[in-house]
């Protein structure tokens, strides 16, 4: 019941936007992901319960969309595009570098729970490669130095308990 405890107002706002309850499933799953840290079984049960859906339906959506994480992830999810265009501009080497610097494999999470590194398909920023998205925010024209800077900044933010604008804010804006 974490979701309902944490975001009662947001849920109401989201539900009000749709003529059919079940249409609210994707935004609610984002919220649930925020509340639980990932789309855990529990999280999906709760979403299903709020929307009168079969939980298997929710699980199926979590599997279909890549932005729902079914395993726990770090506070910052770094998703580097290594699709063809980015690869031609050195994305693969960039991923290797990032992996070495964070000392985690692709799909791994740092021990401090701060970073998860992933590779993804085209994010529609091929002309600004190498690039990644960090919790949905694009970081472009990257190289090693810029990556180091990004990591330091994020660590500092985490220490100051100030995170990137989270999905919750985006959803709340949408729910208004």
């Amino acid at each position: 019941m974490l979701l309902q405890e944490k975001y009662p107002e947001e849920i109401k706002g989201i539900l009000a936007r749709f003529p059919h309850k079940k249409s609210a499933v994707l935004p609610l799953m984002h919220l649930a992901q925020e509340a639980y840290g990932f789309t855990s079984r529990e999280a999906m049960q709760e979403v299903a319960q709020i929307l009168d859906l079969d939980p298997t339906h929710v699980l199926s959506l979590a599997g279909f969309y890549t932005l729902y994480y079914e395993e726990p992830v770090g506070k910052f999810v770094l998703e580097v595009c290594n699709d063809l265009a980015c690869a031609l501009r050195g994305a693969d080497e960039f991923v290797q570098m990032a992996s070495r610097k964070l000392d985690i494999p692709v799909d791994g999470t740092t021990n401090d729970g701060l970073f998860t590194l992933k590779t993804v398909m085209c994010l529609a920023a091929c002309d600004r490669a190498p690039m990644l998205q960090c919790n949905l925010k694009f970081e472009e024209h990257l190289d090693e130095a810029k990556f180091d800077a990004l990591i330091s900044r994020l660590r500092a933010e985490a220490a100051a308990e100030k995170a990137e604008p989270s999905i919750v804010e985006q959803i709340s804006a949408f729910a208004k």
Partner: protein, 846 residues
Amino acid sequence: MSDQVNLTIDGVELSVPNGTLVVDAAKMIENPIPVFCYHPKMAPVGMCRMCLVEIGLPVRDRNSGEPVLNDDGTPQVSFRGLQTACTVQVSEGMVVRTTTEVVTKAREDVIEFLLTSHPLDCPICDKGGECPLQNLTMEHGKGTSRMDYSLKMKLDKHVPLGELIYLDRERCIQCGRCVRFQEEIVDDPVIRFHNRGRSLEIVTMSDPGFDSYWSGNTTDICPVGALTTADFRFGARPWELTPVATLSPHCPSGANMTFSTRREAKSGGRSVIKRIMPRQNEPVNEIWISDRDRFVHHFADAPDRLKKPLMRKNGQLVEVEWGEALDAVAGKLQQSGTAVAGLSGDRVSNEDMFLFQKLFRQGLKSHNIDLANRRLAGGDVVAKVGISQGSNLLNLGQGDAIVVIASDLHEEVPVWWLRVKQAAQRGAELVILNLRPTRLDECSRNVIHYQPGQAIATLRQLVNDAKVAAADADNSPIKAAADVIMQANNVVAFYGAEGLTYAETDAVARLLANLLLIKNEEAYAGRPNNGLIPVWPHNNTQGAWDMGIHPALEPGYKPAAKPGMRANEVYAAAQTGALKALFLLAADPIGDGLMAGRGQLDFLVVQELFLTETAAQADVVLPAQSWAEREGTFTSGERRVQRYYPAIQPVGEARPDWQILAQIGERVGLEKPAFAASLVFRDLAKAVPQYKGMDYRALARVEKQWPDVGGDDLYYGGNAYENRVGLGMQWPAAAESGAVDHFEVADVDSELPGKVVVVRTAALFTPGTLINHTELLQARMAQPTLIIQAADAAKLQLAQGEKVMVEVAGRGVETAVRLSEDTPEGVALLRGVPYQAGLTELKVMG
């Protein structure tokens, strides 16, 4: 626009109904277009691309709209490349080509693509031999692949989707049949796709996994070996299996099934039942069976089956030879004069029941013959206004109405639940009268939940309202429901016994009959797709009525000159000593809490499969063959008489019930026994006028059914669907051939026995003599549960999850309390316990 459309497929001209899909049109002329995702019982999705064909349409002049002709006068046809035959509907003048080079190439490519990551493990695959993927690859594949074997994805091959069904991820070709079946057909969307592309997987989140009474059907329609049942997987190869037609041994729907048997060395060369699959009978169960029917067969081969006759000697039951046992039974019955009685269970065949009553009526001159556990009345009413011959619930839809009263069809007869639900989806109006919510409520706009004790009053009101013209009554929900019924083209009415006494069910049957007769000359009763269907507790309760297993009705519903004792009188007389000898055929009244013990009986004989509680107290126990070992007929609740066939050799020295009864009959002076079930049936068809014209041959007649799921192409999966041995015959209700009078309805007002009344509710997996032998289903068995609303629970000081002893049929049963606001006030629903009738007082014991 005409209803028929003319088209040409590979040069063959044909005319098919408007709206037909190209793939079905081709199948009608036995030109099977290969498919994987398409299934004729489900909406097409066009997902697999296996059915690509070339489709051409006649060219029309833009201005005149006239067809453009070639020089030779034939219409010009324009082809627009490949289209999926499963999603395109026929249209006038369409030309379909399935044998061209492009089509052949497309098929090769699709097969090659589907096999890119298929494990090709056919040699160890349960489906191999009856696998659409294998068959279509042999027929349409190229035989080679450009795919490097080492690039195949390795995925988990033993994923339990619950304990009944396993998924092999590598074999799945993502056709979606299983997911669509669960959602579209049975409305249990508990399995779905997860992830995409090569990583796609079928998942479930229900608890227990794959929580549906229908899960086994997905293994039939899966076109590969991706879904298998825990019961059959790695059990046998399809080509070793012999299909033997049978019927559900539980279900009054008369579901048609097929055993697959194999002779096995480890069983001493005996045939063993390896699995049960549905057998197509469109008016009965189409091609679906519930998991209870699919997995129930284990009782037939159970090690504790009775194998030899037993006789009590010096207080002990000891094995004896048949002759000795039969002589003893015949002698003792005769010595007891007319102080004898015979009570039968309602699962044995018509042949058995006919000879049972004959033994008593003619051999022993006693009418003390009855069902051991009579729950639902109205067989005599059904004989007059039962659903008519030629009816098919599949025909009901828009403009029709279906009434269901005092029954939870989903738990009692899932096949009927499915067919009623689907009729509602086609537009039929459902009128549901129950004292609590049931699953069908969601398909109905006319749900009436009556107060406990008000079933008859509510139905009476409905019938009275139905007699009044629509305008001049108030618009209560009952009146609205009555109007729905009276405005319908066709009306089918189901009635059950939930919360009702036997006498009350009789009133319900009569009231419903009067409803079906209201329009007098134009009454619903007597017309196809109309009439009454009793939700009988067992597969052959209907047959019991027909065969005269009734103290007041002889075979064919002929009133007995001098009615005998009813079952409850028999049980009482056994205690007082008024009855000397009792013969129980496939019944366990002591185990069911109906009879306190053998009381003052001189002689108790039990004919059974197992040493039941009652059998353990008997003087003679006669081992009977199960339905898998012998042939016979059952009559369904729709009065369809159907045959079943012997699949395995008899267990031990067990004999068919009818044979044992005939051999006893001979010893008490009846004629020499017939030597075949078919001959007994011939005799009973003479005694039961309703069965006129029926014999084993006629019952075995088949005709081509649509959709065509059989044939060599096997693309709908499984080799057991095809019905080669009989669709059965329905017997006509009296209303079909002449006027039937309205019925008198007795007043059976019931007093509420307490502040909170107990209603025993049905559950598909309720423990019982037969189903308890299926290990696999034990985890799904309904546990004894008392379901009550919070307010009532608080008054009784019961808490969620608490274990309490309550009285069921005279015995204490430990039940778990479950709070549910769906339960009406003043009612406690009792699930997962043996049957008990009517409303009883909630007695929480110590």
